[in-house]
Every structure is written in structure tokens, then in C-alpha cells.
């Protein structure tokens, strides 16, 4: 235990060095996110403009977050250290055995094995998920957009401006937000239910007792989902364009005389993404339902047959309720992932047709593709973060409502 204290102490020294040597100079600017803008200064000797090093708001914020995390770790280890010292003093007084370092290590493989196992996953989780999320949440309260790009310009705290902008302040942004929000929900509902119902029907057909080569049929449908989506969706997007294969085929067959604007007409584009999403999604639901169908206890059917139920009746009163019950949690997960279904929208339409009355968005954009465009194409980070937080709120509300209604989470200990 004495050696353990020494390790704790060393960790404290390292963290303190980090804090004063590196973190403090960033943390001290945390309140303003930097004051000195980078300037161009004429250098007489070299006859060129030189840039002075100004403050970089982005780095100040990023490293401040890391420094605060280090500070929390520092305090935590300090508490451990104090506890340990106290324990040693108490054990000494009582004349009890003080655990040796070796015994402590062995403990880590048994009684405290969870610490050993969780150490690495939790470290990566904090570094690559938790701290970035904290950083982006903070960004939502700044004016970090295309006009305030470090290192050239500074950005600063603006409080709730972004939130009020989205909800009531800025007419274009509000209009865009509610337009996209509405379509996101329409899309998620349509995408989930078309796939659910048709996938279920397909599974029932394949598992029908008269159908031969069941495994072959399943495999045929699986091939289409195993092809990476960026490949299949890009191909389909090319085929839907005015000069693409589908228009060419339709014109050659004499069904249409001019190319149909599949991706540039709002309504057609929306119908297209829902239909193409069925192509993507139905094999997944088919697989899920196939598994479920095969797991329905056979006794259920036998007893209903004895009771004189027909095929239709046993389907309605056994198969259907069973399937809906078992797949309910998975369906909600699908609904949530459809709210965030980036690939289908981004690769097919790119959010288009582009809308002039929208702020940097198109008519098939979902919240998540809008977020992506704002981040990557327009560097509107503050607005993007605000939308990200809002997506989080939608997703967590939906999920919470569902988790409270399914027993499998509440009673997770019961079946072990």
C-alpha cells in the first residue's frame, strides 16, 4: 500500500506539471476564448506581411476541456491518496496486516477485476467520445461559424443566441429547422413502417412451408445489403439522374418521352428515397423476422390446431402477436437509426433538391445530414452543435419512453 501511495503521488506530480506547464495558459483564457486577434504586420526588412501569433479560440477551448478533465482526475487521485494514508494509519494502530503491493496487484485480477478490465475501454471512451462531446456542447454556446474561424479570427461566448436563433430569432433558420424536423419525422415513420411490414411479409413468404430452397432465397436478398452502401447507393443515384440508366430504359421502352426529374423534384425525390430505402432495409427486417419465425414454439401451433383453429386464425392470434412483441425493442432502435439515417439521404440526393428558402439545406435533408453539411461544407460549427444537441434530445426522449415500456431493460437481472 505504501508503494501504491507512491504511484498515486507520482501521478499527482505529473498531472500538476501538465496543469501548470501546459493547461493553465489555456484555461486562463477560458472566460473570453482569447483576446488577441492575429494581425498582419508589415516587415520592413523582408518587405512582406507577417502574421503575428494571436490567440486561437478553438485550441483554448479544446485544451481547456482537457485541462478541466485533468483537474478532475487530479482531485480524484488526491482523495484516493488521502483515503489510503488514513487506512494505513488505522491499520497500523490496530496492528493489522497492511496489504503488500503484490497482494494489491493480485486483487486487481480477482476482487477488483472490473477496474483492470474497464481501464482501457474507459480511457478511450473519455478521450474519443466524452471529451469531444463536451467540447461540442460548449461550441453550441459560442459564435464559432464561417466568419469566426481560428486562427485568423476569434470566436467567443454568445450564450443562448444559437438556440434562440433556431427557434424564434432568425426567420430563415427557424423555417429551415422546422421544415427539416417535420420531414425527418415523416421520413423516419415511413422508412420504419414500410420496412417493417414488407420485411415481415417477405419473411413469412420465404418461411412458408411450400417454399423450397429457403436458405438460397435468404442469401440472394442478403447479397444486396452486404455490398457497401456507398457503392450501391451511389450507383442508384447515378441511375436516377436525367441521363441515368432508369430514365434511358424508360425512354427506350417508350413509357416516357422526357427524362423524369427523380432527384430534382421535391415530391419525387422524397418518394425515391423512401423506395430506395426499402431496397436497403427490407433484407435486414427479413433476416430478423426469419429468426423470430423459426423461434416460435411449435407447441403453440399444435395446441391451436387441436382447438380447431385454421391457418389464418393461428396466424392472427399466434404468429403476429409473437413477432410484434419480440421485435418491439428492435423496431424502436430502427426508428431512432432512421432519424439519423445519413447514408441513404446523403448518398442518394445529397439532401437535394436544394431549397432557396432553407438555410444551407435541401428538401430531403434530415437533421443529421444538415448537421453534416453545416460542419463540413459551411464550417458553421456553432449551429451544427446546437442541432446535434437537439437530435440528442429527440433520440433520448424516444428511447426513454420506450425503455420504460419494455421489461427487458428494467428486469435485466432477473433472467441471468
Amino acid at each position: 500500500m505504501i508503494l501504491l501511495n507512491l504511484i498515486y503521488f507520482l501521478a499527482e506530480v505529473v498531472l500538476a506539471c501538465f496543469f501548470f506547464g501546459f493547461g493553465f495558459k489555456y484555461l486562463s483564457h477560458f472566460g473570453t476564448l482569447g483576446e488577441n486577434t492575429q494581425l498582419k504586420v508589415w516587415n520592413e526588412e523582408l518587405q512582406i506581411y507577417e502574421r503575428t501569433t494571436g490567440d486561437n479560440s478553438m485550441l483554448i477551448l479544446l485544451f481547456s476541456v482537457f485541462t478541466i478533465a485533468a483537474l478532475i482526475l487530479f482531485i480524484y487521485i488526491l482523495i484516493l491518496l488521502i483515503k489510503n494514508v488514513r487506512a494505513i494509519i488505522r491499520l497500523r494502530k490496530e496492528g493489522k496486516h497492511i496489504a503488500s503491493f503484490r497482494e494489491l496487484l493480485l486483487d486487481l485480477l480477482d476482487k477488483k477485476f472490473h477496474i483492470t478490465l474497464l481501464a482501457a475501454p474507459m480511457t478511450t471512451l473519455v478521450l474519443f467520445t466524452v471529451l469531444p462531446i463536451v467540447f461540442m456542447i460548449l461550441i453550441a454556446f459560442t459564435n464559432f461559424d464561417s466568419d469566426h474561424q481560428p486562427p485568423g479570427e476569434l470566436f467567443t461566448w454568445t450564450g443562448l443566441t444559437n438556440v434562440t436563433d433556431v427557434f424564434l430569432g432568425n426567420a430563415t433558420k427557424t423555417h429551415t429547422f422546422f421544415g427539416i424536423l417535420g420531414w425527418t419525422f415523416v421520413w423516419a415513420i415511413l422508412a420504419t413502417f414500410t420496412n417493417y411490414i414488407l420485411g415481415m411479409l417477405l419473411a413469412i413468404v420465404i418461411n412458408h412451408k411450400l417454399v423450397k430452397f429457403k436458405k438460397m432465397w435468404r442469401t440472394l436478398f442478403i447479397i444486396s445489403i452486404a455490398i457497401p452502401q456507398f457503392v450501391s447507393l451511389l450507383l442508384i443515384a447515378r441511375a436516377l439522374e436525367p441521363a441515368g440508366a432508369i430514365n434511358v430504359a424508360l425512354m427506350k421502352a417508350g413509357i416516357i418521352s422526357a427524362p423524369l426529374p427523380f432527384l430534382s423534384n421535391t415530391l419525387l425525390a422524397r418518394i425515391c428515397v423512401v423506395i430506395i430505402n426499402m431496397w436497403i432495409g427490407i433484407p435486414y427486417t427479413m433476416m430478423t423476422f426469419s429468426g423470430v419465425l423459426m423461434n416460435i414454439p411449435a407447441e403453440l401451433y399444435e395446441s391451436s390446431e387441436i382447438d380447431g383453429a385454421g391457418v389464418l386464425q393461428s396466424f392472427v392470434s399466434i404468429t403476429l402477436p409473437y413477432m410484434i412483441f419480440v421485435t418491439a425493442p428492435a423496431t424502436i432502435t430502427t426508428f431512432v437509426s432512421n432519424i439519423n439515417n445519413f447514408n441513404v439521404i446523403y448518398l442518394l440526393t445529397g439532401g437535394g433538391p436544394f431549397a432557396l428558402d432553407y438555410y444551407q439545406a435541401g428538401k430531403t435533408d434530415l437533421l443529421v445530414t444538415w448537421l453534416y453539411k453545416l460542419t463540413v461544407d459551411h464550417h458553421d460549427y456553432a449551429l451544427a452543435s446546437t442541432i446535434g444537441i437537439f437530435i440528442f434530445m429527440i433520440v433520448s426522449t424516444v428511447s426513454l419512453a420506450v425503455y420504460n415500456h419494455t421489461g427487458s431493460v428494467k428486469r435485466e437481472d432477473m433472467f441471468q
Partner: protein, 280 residues
């Protein structure tokens, strides 16, 4: 077989054939485009006029602008590394939540649930700048870290599987004096082959199909692209006419192994989806 049954059987098989054809048309389209001799994304003829292997050969010989062999090796390297790390981390976390009881267990599980609800794209800019700050931007190591960093959040399916392994097994081992460390490696893992395979294959596939994080981390460093991002670049506006058929050829080469792996894990996939639900 009665007449009625025969009719139903023929009807069902016809329906399945039509549907299978619809589902396979894009796949077929990809295949014939990869052998097409005429360039460009759009042709006035639906079927190629001439067939050729050149698109495939070109991928491996013409590496001036797009270095496909190098992308392939990059992806393989990233996929193998992140597959090993992700599988290990996921199984460790799943075992801890399934078998070990400690004070902060519930709290950690709830936090994981909440973290998983933030859209992943939200933090990619932060991750990029963090990587840049520690000098890892535009490197393959950064990609490996990004793909395996969130492993602690995807433990649900593995935990569901561990929950079904009888606890009596652990208890018997404990009576024999085995520590939890030994139980994990010698008893739980060898009994969990399906879930190990499933986790590993999923982790292995991810780098082959992701083009978003690669774009953010690699920017314009073509040499460190993975196949997904590389192929995606081949069909942007500037390159599509010249490289469309090469894109198709590359896509076929990437798809074949993924299709094989997918067919292998399909039975585990079904088990995974229903594992959490059937207990409720």
C-alpha cells in the same frame, strides 16, 4: 400434392423470383459496369458494347493519382488492428457489466446509454483537432483510434450473450479457486465463440465501408485513404467520367470479401437482434 397447393407453391416461387431479380439488378449493374469498355457514368446503351478486364488491371497498375493497392493495404491494416482492439475492449466491457458487481456499475451503464444517443458526426471536428494537437492527423493510427475508441459503448449484444451463459459455471470455477481473471479468459471466452466472431467481423467490416471519418481525418492526403474514401473520390464531379468504370471494378473487389463475411454472420445477426427482446 393437391391442385390448390400446387398453385400456391407456383405463386410464391414466382413472387420470390421477381423480388430477387429486383434486389439483384443493382448488383448485376455493378458487375457489368465493372467490365464495360466505354468510359463515363452514363451511356446511351443499357448494356456495354464491349467487355474488358482493363478496369481491374488499371486499378493495380495506374497508381499515379489513385493508388488503389495502397488504399487496399491501408484498409486491411486499419481493419485488422481496429478489429483486434475493438473485439477485446467490447468483450471486456460486456463481461464486466454481465458478471461483476460493483458500486458504479448501473451508473456507468446509464452513462453509456446516454453517450450513444449523441449523433456521431457532432464530435468529429473535435476529434480531428485533438488528433492534430497530438500530431496524429492524417495518419492511419488516428483512424484505428477513432474506429476502436467507442468500443465501450457497443457492449449490448455481447452482454446479452454472456448473460445466457449459466452462472453455475463461474461458481464451480470459483470453488476450484479460480480468480475472475482466469474465469474470463478460460471459461467465458471459450464458451462465447459466436459472439466473438460476430463482434470481430462487424469491427473488421466498419473501416471498409466508412468514408466520413476518413474524409475528416485524412483531408487531401490521398496516400493514406482507405478504399471506401478512395473509391468515393473517384466518382466526385471532377473524376467521374474518367474513373467511373474503375470505381465499379474497385467496388466489386471490396464487396466480395464483405459479402462472404456477411453470409457467415447472418445467423449470429438474427440471434443478436432478438437476444435482448425475447427475455422481456
Amino acid at each position: 400434392m393437391s391442385r390448390h397447393k400446387k398453385m400456391v407453391s407456383i405463386g410464391l416461387h414466382t413472387l420470390l423470383t421477381v423480388l430477387a431479380v429486383i434486389w439483384l439488378i443493382p448488383v448485376f449493374w455493378l458487375l457489368i459496369s465493372s467490365f464495360r469498355a466505354e468510359k463515363g457514368a452514363y451511356t446511351s446503351n443499357l448494356l456495354p458494347q464491349r467487355f474488358t478486364f482493363d478496369n481491374y488491371i488499371r486499378l493495380f497498375t495506374d497508381t499515379r493519382l489513385f493508388n488503389f493497392p495502397r488504399w487496399f493495404m491501408n484498409t486491411l491494416f486499419v481493419a485488422v488492428c481496429s478489429c483486434i482492439i475493438t473485439t477485446l475492449l467490447t468483450l471486456m466491457v460486456a463481461y464486466v457489466y454481465s458478471r461483476l458487481r460493483f458500486r458504479s456499475r448501473k451508473g456507468l451503464m446509464n452513462i453509456s446509454l446516454i453517450l450513444g444517443m449523441f449523433p456521431g458526426f457532432m464530435s468529429m471536428i473535435a476529434i480531428y483537432h485533438f488528433m492534430k494537437a497530438i500530431g496524429l492527423d492524417q495518419t492511419l493510427l488516428a483512424l484505428i483510434l477513432v474506429y476502436s475508441g467507442g468500443a465501450a459503448l457497443n457492449y449490448y449484444i455481447a452482454k446479452g450473450f454472456f448473460d445466457t451463459i449459466p452462472k453455475a459455471l463461474d461458481e464451480a470455477a470459483r470453488i476450484d479457486g479460480a480468480s475472475r481473471h482466469v474465469i474470463f479468459w478460460k471459461i467465458i471466452l471459450p464458451n462465447s465463440k459466436p459472439i466473438v466472431v460476430n463482434t470481430a467481423i462487424n469491427a473488421f467490416i466498419a473501416p471498409w465501408v466508412d468514408f466520413i471519418f476518413v474524409s475528416v481525418i485524412m483531408k487531401d492526403n490521398y496516400n493514406n485513404y482507405t478504399v471506401a474514401k478512395g473509391l468515393y473520390t473517384m466518382v466526385d464531379k471532377a473524376n467521374i467520367f474518367e474513373y467511373y468504370t474503375s470505381f465499379c471494378a474497385g467496388a466489386v473487389l471490396v464487396s466480395i470479401p464483405i459479402v462472404c463475411l456477411f453470409i457467415k454472420i447472418q445467423k449470429y445477426y438474427v440471434a443478436g437482434v432478438t437476444a435482448g427482446a425475447s427475455k422481456g
